[in-house]
Assembly symmetry: C2
Homo-oligomer: 229 residues x 2
Amino acid sequence: MARVSKISKPKRPARARSRRPELSPRKEPSQERARQTVDAILEAAGDVLVREGFDRASTNRIADAAGVSIGSLYQYFPNKDAVVRALVERHEARMLEVMRTHLGDLAGKDVREVTRALIEGLLDAHRVKPKLQKVLLEHGGHEASSVDAAVEALVRAAVESRRIELAVNDVDVAAFLLVTAVRTACHRAVVERPDLLERPAFVDELCDLVLRYIAADAPAAPRSTTKRG
Amino acid sequence: MARVSKISKPKRPARARSRRPELSPRKEPSQERARQTVDAILEAAGDVLVREGFDRASTNRIADAAGVSIGSLYQYFPNKDAVVRALVERHEARMLEVMRTHLGDLAGKDVREVTRALIEGLLDAHRVKPKLQKVLLEHGGHEASSVDAAVEALVRAAVESRRIELAVNDVDVAAFLLVTAVRTACHRAVVERPDLLERPAFVDELCDLVLRYIAADAPAAPRSTTKRG
DNA sequence: TCGAGACGCGAGCCATCGCTCGCATTCTGA
DNA sequence: TCAGAATGCGAGCGATGGCTCGCGTCTCGA
């Protein structure tokens, strides 16, 4: 057989890849046609991941769903991992965009207002392709996402800068707990309990949870519906 | 270099193999020898999962690590999934055992005590083979575990039975938030921040988060280390 | 003692997976 | 107009995975 020795390095998942800068990004699409191809691939990747699940989402199936040949896929992505990574980045960019438009300027605002804005922003962001997000979270969500990082930084800064007026002892742990609690609550609500999203009480309670913790003596946040004094 | 012709493989669609309509639970080990085999398989499965990661944990590798033939593995487990499932069950049984011995009798106890006992029990339970748990969580944590169910029931009952004396408005939402927050904090701590598990402040803050929420006006819980008045 | 069933073995079937490579088609600029 | 670059194609390679099956070994009750 003519085609001998081929550099077969494929099956080397390489547990942890610390190489962040450019994993051989293959070709960059320069024509409009190519840009559409790349887009179709990413779109299809999302669909396949949701429809078939992570394990059954092979590159062949993705290319197929995109109406594109497998060869074309590998012209723009060096390997399967790169496809998923690109998809994650795109999804997170969209979420961050939602949050950004939701938050506006937080400087100088009251703790309660900031808290509520953050929570509502997060909730809104989680409404972007929730099913896709679920799959992505379950299969790689262990690595901190850019959204997490952004939110955690925001919360940390907020908690730290107001430390004296707040009732928090361990800023580190507090930030961890808050981000974990709120982020997961949003996520679980979106994917498992969509009914909660319709209840104004949900946001209220979430705000209470946070505010009572970081400002134990502070009055409750403004509520959506008046209920309690 | 044309590598044409070639007896192209029929590439049979191979719709289905000899389908096994029922999920045959396979053999039950009856002799001591067999019980040891099953045990070795599960033990090895855990090791391989931790050492090689979920994707590289093939049945062949597991059988190999167990010092057992692949045929023997399939004598007791109908498929790979069953092995993982059995491993999960075994692990959860151990976690529940830890929690049970940790909790003792909660009846009539103070909210603070109950909260702290629950949280410490949960944390202790998460210390059982944390690396294995990390892998299991990342690849199937989406399904409710028996531990989750047990805890959720406990919390719901606790919140509901003390409703009047607590500051909670919406029991439903409150239970959801509490379980989500605490459970995920434990999970994430195990997966991403094992250092937190050793810090007493972690338990303290977690207790504060819960207690300030459900008993907003109540004094802080007893702390591990005295810090604040 | 002995035979039947429980147990253990491992080569190997077949499916699928990630990915390559030679070639066809389309676009672009001089 | 037309050459060369960019893009698209898809059969098929080598690797690996789940799992079967035929047969040898061990155990135990009668």
